[in-house]
Symmetry: C2
Subunit: 297 residues, 2 copies
């Protein structure tokens, strides 16, 4: 007999959308966790208030060059590949993302780097593990938009992540400008939970990694959040690291400029928040999208 | 027997792209034309250098409200319509553009307004007529990108516009921000002519008004222009007017924000530059895209 966890964040179950208050903390770390660094108390306060934090100059030029070279090599291997980890742009063959990169260097080392994992432990408290990793290409000339979403909504419904206790890190490998499709975040939106409309079909992820059709927030809720939160577009040079809470509403426009906007994306989840059965009732998505095996307990 | 004009700007005829120098002036007006206003000598110089000019506060709030109300009414009429003047977003039913609006008020009055037509006469010299007009919706949440293009390249190949002697005016009906899909222009690109690759199929316009597939500049040429020119994103409040030369390379990213970016678009051509047979050898596009009848001579 399966024991289902209580669903604190139901979504895709009602006919109309609803905005609920977040019931989880944003900062979980004990005073000792928080004091450990690398984030200063002021940075932690900003992160808690806005649901994101951009830190410039975290990686130096040599580190960025090494990650970029590894990305180019991975992209060259991926071009002809038809493995599920390689996701292509909607309506095209250009590679959009390569998932599950953190098993091999240099990404394994990056995921273990205290500049990322240490910051994750500071906000999540205690031990963490990599829930998901990927390279996002956002290529020049043809990078398509990512519609608004809360990562947590998907991870909860489709992967069975029980609580909001995860944090994402985007390591910028290109300078981010207002015009090459940078991430847009709604500051403070992490304190609200937008319940989406409609159920989730099985195997939805095969399409949704290219273009989301379920678990999409409705326009009224987005307009409400926009009016309340405004928008932030944290642009900055390559080597910057953008971290954001799992429930921060974010998205990005397309990129027709010649300047790609590549990044490495690493998501940490608390070991106290390991995945259970998906709350949407579908089969769990595969390991390359959401780590289930090998979670330290 | 048809007499063909000499093709000074061949395009879509070769297997590889090429960048040619513009052989036409940018400012055609005589000293008397230029002195007439509304543009100052400094504004004319900026326009000549960059290939565009943003003027804020040209229309007041009342005028913007009247044009917006007319646009809403036109949009309501267009929703169920299947007339060719109403063009929809690629992959959707949302209205992207409504063409040929300048036969009826308030757009007829706008097209005759000396703040637009007077500025057109200043730069083009002598009499002008409306080559094309349209409302662009760029709706919130779903406005798609417009890929890079020189309007002149299309007007020359598909409509038979002989020379670069036309100017476009975009009247902003919404505040333009960096994030709601504003127009991006490559300053100085109007002095270069990118010959595109590939021929044009007949009736191409039915698809190209939604998404361009022929007459698209190649990536090397765009990267070359980008490196040479940089990019300008002239954002500003509703009521601003952006004017740009017919050969200025421009495009825009998508718009997933809740804020629409609507504008009225009026193109003036010199009566001395009236259309001839399309230089691409296809049949002329219909009147609603490119005025042929009723051109004052």
């Amino acid at each position: 007999m399966r024991i289902r966890e209580v669903d604190l964040y139901p979504s895709r179950m009602a006919e109309s959308a609803e905005i609920a208050r977040r019931t989880d903390p944003v900062l979980y770390g004990s005073p000792a966790d928080r004091a450990r660094g690398p984030l200063s108390p002021a940075e932690l306060a900003l992160y808690a208030r806005d649901g994101f934090l951009l830190r410039e100059g975290v990686l130096d030029a040599r580190e960025v060059a090494a990650l970029t070279a590894a990305l180019d090599a991975a992209l060259a291997r991926a071009r002809g590949a038809t493995v599920p980890e390689v996701v292509r742009e909607p309506g095209g063959d250009a590679v959009r993302s390569i998932f599950a990169v953190h098993d091999a260097d240099p990404w394994r080392a990056l995921a273990q780097d205290p500049r990322l994992s240490g910051a994750a432990r500071q906000v999540l408290g205690g031990e963490v593990y990599v829930h998901q990793s990927r390279i996002n290409l956002k290529p020049g000339f043809e990078g398509k938009d990512f519609y608004w979403h809360s990562d947590f909504e998907t991870w909860h419904v489709e992967d069975g992540m029980p609580r909001m206790r995860a944090v994402s890190f985007s390591v910028l490998l290109d300078d981010n400008h207002p015009y090459n499709g940078p991430l847009m975040l709604l500051p403070g939106s992490h304190k609200h939970y937008v319940r989406c409309v409609g159920a989730t079909p099985d195997e939805h992820f095969k399409a949704s990694l290219r273009r989301q059709e379920y678990g999409v927030p409705d326009r009224d809720s987005l307009a409400w959040l926009w009016a309340r939160c405004g928008v932030a577009i944290p642009t900055g040079p390559a080597g910057s690291v953008l971290m954001f809470d799992c429930n921060t509403m974010h998205g990005s426009n397309s990129n027709i400029t010649p300047l790609s906007r590549r990044n490495v994306f690493v998501v940490y989840n608390s070991v106290a928040n390991a995945l259970v059965e998906p709350f949407g009732g579908t089969r769990p998505r595969p390991e390359f999208v959401a780590t289930r095996e090998g979670v330290p307990r």
